[in-house]
């Protein structure tokens, strides 16, 4: 094989690669749009009136996840499935956002931590790599961490809205999450950086709980377990 032939072969490979990336960018853009729509729906829980509407907002968000599912199905067709990690960077961000949104919906509904299997189910993807387009464990954890900071905001706003028991429940939940993350041996990677922010969320919620407890607010609910 001559030098010229070799280079034109590689050039062919590279441009094919670029075409795939171009396609992926387009689909991911649409997916990001859908994620933003869900976020907008869920954002309203922070408003004063929003707390009563949580179930209806969650139902609406769940509906919107339907469109996400079809778009992810579209995404899956754009590249060979065994090359997931070759193009991972393209959808990593949006997949983390979607995990966050799914986790947030599940928390609002049942106040539990969404499992990786549940997220995969909501997004209609797989958990194990071998089975196809899957949710990487690091992306799942990153999404959970985004939710933690959203919850610290929710704790503050629920006090403003007069719901004094919610911060305490959030506090318990976040503390559990925090001790969960401590089990992990993280490398010096983006996930670790994000995890480092968790302690500020924990601190913020603790402050809210503290403020409530020295004023005797939320006493009628179960309290005194932290203090």
């Amino acid at each position: 094989m001559s030098v010229t032939e070799m280079f034109s072969f590689i050039q062919g490979f590279l441009s094919a690669d670029q075409d795939v990336r171009e396609d992926l960018r387009k689909v991911v853009q649409i997916l990001e749009q859908a994620a933003r729509e869900i976020l907008t729906v869920l954002q309203s829980v922070h408003q004063l009136t929003g707390f009563k509407e949580i179930p209806s907002k969650c139902a609406k968000a769940r509906e919107l996840f339907c469109t996400v599912r079809t778009q992810i199905a579209d995404l899956k067709t754009k590249f060979p499935v065994e090359q997931y990690y070759r193009f991972h960077e393209h959808w990593r961000f949006v997949l983390q956002r979607l995990t966050f949104l799914a986790a947030f919906v599940v928390y609002l509904e049942s106040e539990t931590l969404v499992t990786r299997e549940e997220v995969a189910q909501i997004l209609d993807i797989e958990v194990v790599r071998e089975k196809g387009f899957h949710l990487d464990v690091e992306d799942y954890l990153a999404g959970v961490l985004i939710m933690a900071s959203e919850l610290s905001r929710l704790a503050v706003n629920s006090v403003t809205a007069g719901d004094y028991s919610r911060p305490i429940r959030i506090s318990n939940f976040i503390n559990e999450l925090d001790s969960g993350f401590r089990l992990l041996n993280l490398k010096n990677d983006p996930l670790r950086k994000r995890y480092d922010g968790l302690k500020y969320d924990v601190k913020k919620i603790e402050e809210v709980v503290y403020d409530l407890s020295i004023r005797g607010l939320g006493k009628e609910h179960k309290c005194g377990e932290d203090k």
């Binding site: 030098v3 590689i10 990690y85 690091e138």
Partner: protein, 284 residues
């Protein structure tokens, strides 16, 4: 303030307590149980990554050594001996790549690609250098990949004898990605430039012309790819231009001076020129 400090302290204590309670209090520790699983998964992944980095580093070192060895070709009487030694060394490197292939069995090669790409590039550089010296042509990607097929006989050790292990051979392959190949070839040009200069210094006046021809082809190939390739390629293109300029200048000097100066003095003239490295101006 003091409250928070106290809190942190008690949490630390709580942590150890939690470990103890974990078995007792199953309901609230479903999160903890889930994270235990994540911990394992992440640790396995990180361990594999580290192992690959280590293998890659070994590959880099060994490949570099073979390249140094091959650079000696120009001033050694028995070329074949050196080539044989280098080939043996590179076979060792190939075996190491076999270890990578084994680590990657059933994994997505791109997930861990960053761990071993430096080693593979160095290997491509070494193997293509050897190939060039032998055949005066560019080794193709398929030829490299053809070398990276590993047969591994399944060992029947006493522990696993419970299950019936088929005695057939396992075939493992490792595929060099086109971009790794490209980057390795870009590095090769630097070695070829060295080889050109040193062969002139040894009074060999044919090799430089061959090399400049070859380098020009590679340069044209890279220009053809341009910036469609990965980011690192465009960076290497700059160095490639410099190498090419040096080789072309050397050929120029040989051509101009070659007819004026007696052959036996040529080497001296040229080696003092290249020592200056400064092109063109000092030549004319």
């Amino acid at each position: 303030m003091s409250k928070r400090e106290g809190d942190g302290c008690s949490r630390k204590k709580a942590e150890t307590e939690q470990e103890r309670n974990m078995t007792a209090d199953q309901s609230s520790s479903s999160i903890a149980a889930a994270f235990k699983v994540f911990q394992q998964e992440l640790d396995t992944k990180h361990d594999k990554y580290e192992r690959l980095v280590k293998i890659s580093r070994d590959i880099t070192i060994e490949s570099k050594r073979s390249i140094f060895l091959l650079n000696r070709v120009t001033n050694v009487p028995d070329v074949e001996e050196v080539l044989k030694e280098a080939a043996v060394k590179l076979d060792g490197v190939t075996q190491k790549i076999g270890l990578i292939a084994e680590e990657l069995r059933g994994e997505d090669i791109h997930q861990f690609h960053r761990a071993f790409t430096p080693g593979i590039q160095e290997y491509v550089e070494a193997i293509s250098f050897l190939h060039y010296i032998r055949h005066r042509s560019l080794i193709s990607l398929e030829e490299i990949n053809a070398k990276l097929v590993f047969m591994k006989a399944e060992k029947v050790d006493p522990k696993s004898s419970v299950e019936v292990v088929p005695a057939d051979v396992q075939v493992l392959t490792f595929q060099v990605t086109p971009s790794d190949y490209l980057l390795g070839v870009a590095d090769l040009t630097g070695e070829l430039m060295r080889m050109c200069i040193s062969s002139v210094a040894n009074g060999d006046i044919d090799t430089p012309f061959q090399l400049s021809q070859f380098l020009r082809q590679i340069h044209d190939g890279f220009s053809y790819i341009g910036n469609t390739g990965p980011y690192e390629v465009s960076k290497k293109l700059h160095t490639l231009r410099q190498s090419l300029a040096k080789v072309e200048d050397a050929c120029y000097a040989l051509h101009v001076r070659g007819s004026e100066i007696p052959k036996h003095m040529l080497a001296d003239v040229f080696s003092s020129r290249t020592a200056l490295i400064d092109p063109e101006e000092s030549m004319v």
